[in-house]
């Protein structure tokens, strides 16, 4: 009985190996749109529109290109500061299908991205009162030029829903590798990265169309 089970397992393994061998090197393209950034934009002070292109190589390697447009128009009622920025950003990277059976319609990904954005921001306050001298000073900086380089480590899943339509999640751990915060200290929202300083974790919810 035990030898029968072992035999069945080895047949199954061989079938998977055979199926993996029959997958062509270039196995299609997929385009995706992120809904998390759109929701952030709709319900918060900042967010991003983002689309991605994923190349399928043997259902195993997936070079990924992501382009987005990040935007912030935030105001804090306590500090009376407003912050505005809008700029494109881009990411390039590679995902690996972590599923043992590469032929499976559902996929589990691990991967990485390199990302970059070049942006300008405006910050404004109608008046900061000098506590000693008593006068009101306008706090204003316009077109402060900045740039940001970062990497993201990605873990994700996606599943076939219907025909060419798939849905998937990714969770991302971000690390800044280089930056220029401009001339007035720090920045707040960085297009594509999120809030500077505390945006180490992020995620996307993707609607994917296989071409």
């Amino acid at each position: 009985m035990a030898s029968l089970a072992v035999g069945a397992q080895s047949v199954e393994k061989k079938i998977v190996e055979l199926e993996n061998k029959t997958i062509p090197f270039f196995n299609g393209l997929a385009v995706s749109a992120d809904l998390v950034g759109v929701a952030q934009m709709a319900f918060g002070d900042y967010g991003q529109y983002e689309a991605g292109l994923r190349v399928n190589l043997k259902n195993k390697y997936f070079p990924v290109f992501e382009l987005g447009y990040g935007k912030a128009d935030g105001e804090d009622v306590a500090t009376r500061l407003t912050y505005k920025t809008s700029a494109p950003y881009g990411r390039v990277g590679l995902d690996f299908n972590l599923m043992k059976n590469k032929y499976d319609v559902n996929r589990l990904y691990g991967g990485f991205r390199y990302a970059y954005t070049n942006y300008k921001f405006d910050v404004f306050s109608p008046g900061v009162t000098d506590p000693v001298w008593g006068e009101s000073a306008e706090f204003k900086a316009q077109d402060v030029a900045c740039n940001y380089h970062w990497v993201e480590f990605v873990f994700g899943v996606d599943a076939k829903i219907w025909g060419p339509v798939r849905l998937g999640w990714t969770a991302r751990y971000k690390r800044r590798i280089a930056h220029d915060d401009g001339t007035v200290g720090n920045t707040w929202y960085v297009p594509g990265y999120g809030i500077e300083g505390n945006a180490r974790l992020g995620g996307t919810f993707n609607v994917i169309f296989e071409l």
Binding site: V36, G74, E75, D76, A78, T79, L81, T82, Y83, N106, L108, V123, S125, V128, D130, P131, V132, W133, G134, E135, A137, E138, F139, K140, A141, F155, G156, V157, W169, T170, A171, T183, V184, G185, N186, T187, W188, I195, E196, G197, N198, A199, L201, G202, G203
Partner: protein, 159 residues
């Protein structure tokens, strides 16, 4: 597969958390350090300035035996005018006028944090009744107050 989805959902919920990263030390002060023979200063030292509405504001009130002190900087005036009054226990007093010329730069941390101004001291001029000289030691005035910005040499009347 289902377990992985829950892990992803957990990570996304975690990513929704945010914190405010305002600096704990957010005071921008000029640090004055006494140098030369007179350190500490035995006389009572009072420092004041004139506010925009014409009233006086005392920044340091009759401090005795001081060897250093910190004073605020105006947010966006081209120069601050300070009055340094030395008062001897015998009753006489000497008041010097100190003019600090500076450039002001808005400093932004985050929209959650109160805005502040950093400064660069360009020039210091003063009368010479009780003060011998004032030397710029560090021109950038920001959150870092470890090093003295100005070295004050008081005249020694007690030798």
């Amino acid at each position: 597969m289902r377990n992985w989805i829950w892990i992803v959902v957990f990570l996304l919920v975690l990513s929704a958390c945010s914190s405010i990263n305002c600096p704990l030390n957010n005071r921008v002060m000029t640090v004055y350090k006494l140098a030369g023979d007179v350190t500490p200063l035995a006389d009572a030292l009072t420092i004041s300035t004139t506010r925009t509405n014409g009233t006086d504001s005392v920044l340091l009130n009759q401090a005795v035996n001081v060897d250093s002190f910190s004073l605020p900087v105006s947010y966006n005036r081209p120069q601050d005018v300070l009055y340094f009054q030395r008062q001897n226990p015998a009753g006489w007093s000497l008041t010097d006028t100190v003019v600090i010329e500076k450039q002001d730069f808005p400093h932004f941390e985050s929209i959650d944090c109160n805005p502040s101004y950093f400064h660069v001291i360009k020039r210091v001029s003063h009368t010479r009744l009780g003060i011998d000289s004032i030397v710029i030691n560090k021109e950038n005035v920001n959150y870092d107050a470890k090093e003295a910005h100005l070295l004050v040499y008081f005249k020694n009347f007690y030798q």
